[in-house]
Symmetry: C2
Subunit: 504 residues, 2 copies
Amino acid sequence: MIETGLFYIISYLFPSRGEPWPKKSRPAKSTTQWYIDIVLNAKLADYSPVKGCMVIRPRGYAIWERIRDEFDRRFKETGHQNAYFPLLIPMSFLQKEAEHVKGFAPELAVVTHGGGEELEEPYCIRPTSETIIWAKYKDWIQSWRDLPLLINQWSNVLRWEKRTRLFLRTSEFLWQEGHTAHETEKEAVEETLRMIEVYRDVVERYLCVPVVVGVKSDTEKFAGAVNTYTIEAMMQDKKALQAGTSHFLGQNFAKAFDVKFQTREGSLDYVWATSWGVSTRLVGAVIMTHSDDKGLVLPPTLAPEEVVIVPIYKNDNKVAVLAYAEKTLAALKAAGIRALLDADDSSSPGWKFAEWEMRGTPVRIEIGPRDMASEKLVMVRRDTGEKSFVAAADAASAARKLLDGIQTSLYERAVAFRDANTVKAGSNKELMDFFGAEGKGTADAHGGFAEALWCGSAECEAGLKAKVKATLRCLPLGHQEGVDGSCALCGAPAKHRAIFARNY
Amino acid sequence: MIETGLFYIISYLFPSRGEPWPKKSRPAKSTTQWYIDIVLNAKLADYSPVKGCMVIRPRGYAIWERIRDEFDRRFKETGHQNAYFPLLIPMSFLQKEAEHVKGFAPELAVVTHGGGEELEEPYCIRPTSETIIWAKYKDWIQSWRDLPLLINQWSNVLRWEKRTRLFLRTSEFLWQEGHTAHETEKEAVEETLRMIEVYRDVVERYLCVPVVVGVKSDTEKFAGAVNTYTIEAMMQDKKALQAGTSHFLGQNFAKAFDVKFQTREGSLDYVWATSWGVSTRLVGAVIMTHSDDKGLVLPPTLAPEEVVIVPIYKNDNKVAVLAYAEKTLAALKAAGIRALLDADDSSSPGWKFAEWEMRGTPVRIEIGPRDMASEKLVMVRRDTGEKSFVAAADAASAARKLLDGIQTSLYERAVAFRDANTVKAGSNKELMDFFGAEGKGTADAHGGFAEALWCGSAECEAGLKAKVKATLRCLPLGHQEGVDGSCALCGAPAKHRAIFARNY
């Protein structure tokens, strides 16, 4: 470890202080390994002895709690209430909706024994809860007066996955699933769009992750849905991540579970439905979008601590420096800033700088005897490394300004990255060039979002997927007007503008 | 339904307004049925198509959210962090702690198939998470510097139950489980006691449910614990409800999972452990402790709405009365009171009175044209039915005072009920008389808490259980000094003071 006094001098001479360790070189390892290292080193999550399942460690869970609480607030604001339905679903329920069972059957975990006996009918662990919830809605909905029914559930779900990655794809994950029932098709479509807009707004503004909002192709939509709306984000390896989906289910589940209601006119009709969900995958999206070679980068909204204060002292000025740091801490807290003082004597300031950078704390305040003497302190932005000298009296307002700046700039940086890696592809050749030749398709150097005209055929989708592993991410909303030209894949007349990308 | 105008007159003439319906007579039905009716009518929970599992409806879940948030705040205040471990546990893990597997094996749900294939090793759904968590702690704990490790998890667990009751005993339930690791036995014991005290404090002060704090007998303790501390509450049918437990696990799980750490002295030692949990059962405890024949009674702390305003008007004064009610609502909200205005035109005020009483809202405000004219309003306490006339300008302060009074008085009423149904039994005959003759033992007329001296033998416990179905609930803390006398059950020299009761 570096001797504190010496480090203190060096760090004032060189602006790169805080990086006394060899900078990890991203090109030297794959984005995959870079991502895994951040998750493990920042103690966000860990592997578990259960196939495909992870342990969410306290720091990862604290980030999830902040994401969850913000969504929960927004769901309640839009009139939804939380409830809780059973973990287990009778296998026969899943079979009531033909498309639904086809989509989920290969991913099920099946409970065959309970209480020491073999069960008459096996249960599956919920992969999603439409079927168990609609079985109950049948009891709760009789008349238009019972509608709309606007329920959300926070829960764990399980989908047996072959290839998993911490946060981004795990067999068990935590999520919320909204399940709503409506009198009319119009109302249900409005709800579907309302919730994808809530998702967009929270993911863009709170998580600083820009997304494309669009509708899925029939190939990619939710099993049992009429339409699936999605928000698609671009990760740092230029792959797409489906960050949230909102499904218009039509009357499919009402018909499968025979949920009819008496209309205002006195007739009987099937109920119209939606469902929508986001999951702990969003923690992965945040990590993958903002982090750098020093480790995690967090938007201030999500950081367990927005500011960390690292005091720099020797034995003879320790008491004074710590008192000065405590005073700064109190001023930050009084201003409502989540701040922390790292007064641990067993590590050097330099070690702490690197440690808090790895953990993603948005702003670091350094306080040493010189700062104290001049009634100043040093603030360092985690995202840019930019350093500023601030009068101690202005600590709270300066920190708030810096934090707000980071929140804006993380988003803008991610938008710029996405835009720089998005092309309009007019031909098959352009698509092939963009995604890289066969076999090289997974290199970070290639790929991103390709916007191309599409004829609407599932064959064209499948063809591209087979060649370069790119899938149709969505038909972006607001970009479907005046489609005039031919499908980039087959040359037939185009029906839609589509985004193609490799994806998680 | 009752004509609004007529009802308005009648209700001013007779103080019993708000009860135009025949009062449900408790003696006419069992406490069990009374309890179930409240849960279903107040829409707190519902049965599900999954054996032994319930659906928690929005109102029940909102109460659980308030309980959960208060505990969560207290856990964080005492230095704990939340994390999340997998739902599934390899069967072999459970077998590593001999007592643990013996206790839980009969209650397991077993997953034998996943992703369309039979699993090499089956998983069980967690009945509690000690084993999966301690398997991970082995990776995380190397040195005394890693200790204490203070982790809590909010999750669902599943224990196959034969006889279930909404909230009070269900196969799947929601809970929190704290799992901590310590350097010394002393620290672990202190943690065990700290958490049972947090439980006592929240359950008594926030839920208004008085409890006896004590330690379990070997027969009744947690499978794998050295000691189990418990809080025991008395329900309205005089049965005991185990409302929360905190276990001192010694080094049992550290030995089972080989979790050793380097001590401050440089030697290797097994880690000391605790675990502790409360569950959605607490919602059942609240319902069962406070409710009456009109329905649910809620402590203000737990009520989704502390105050409901019911306006009483005719067509010609509707606009004015509603404006007056809105003004009152705004005043209450400005004072931080969770208040609601029930302006639904499709129900009469009388119907609303009964409805909100059934739902358990602590305070009802009635506002009619006469109240408006005299710049007053009427406040009615849910717990006592007591009615007071309050100047409109004082609405918020009067409501706050009333709510505080209800919070105190619900607790005191429950203490009085428990004390009135607690006896000191000195002999076998006194115990038999108290719990009722064999076969009549389940009648509400009998039973309660019997405090008796006990020799410490499991045979005496088993004997009483066989005769009158009463179990040893706990050895109350602070009541074990100067035990001098003979066991009420066998006459041998006594070692402890014990509480016996029938239980859920």
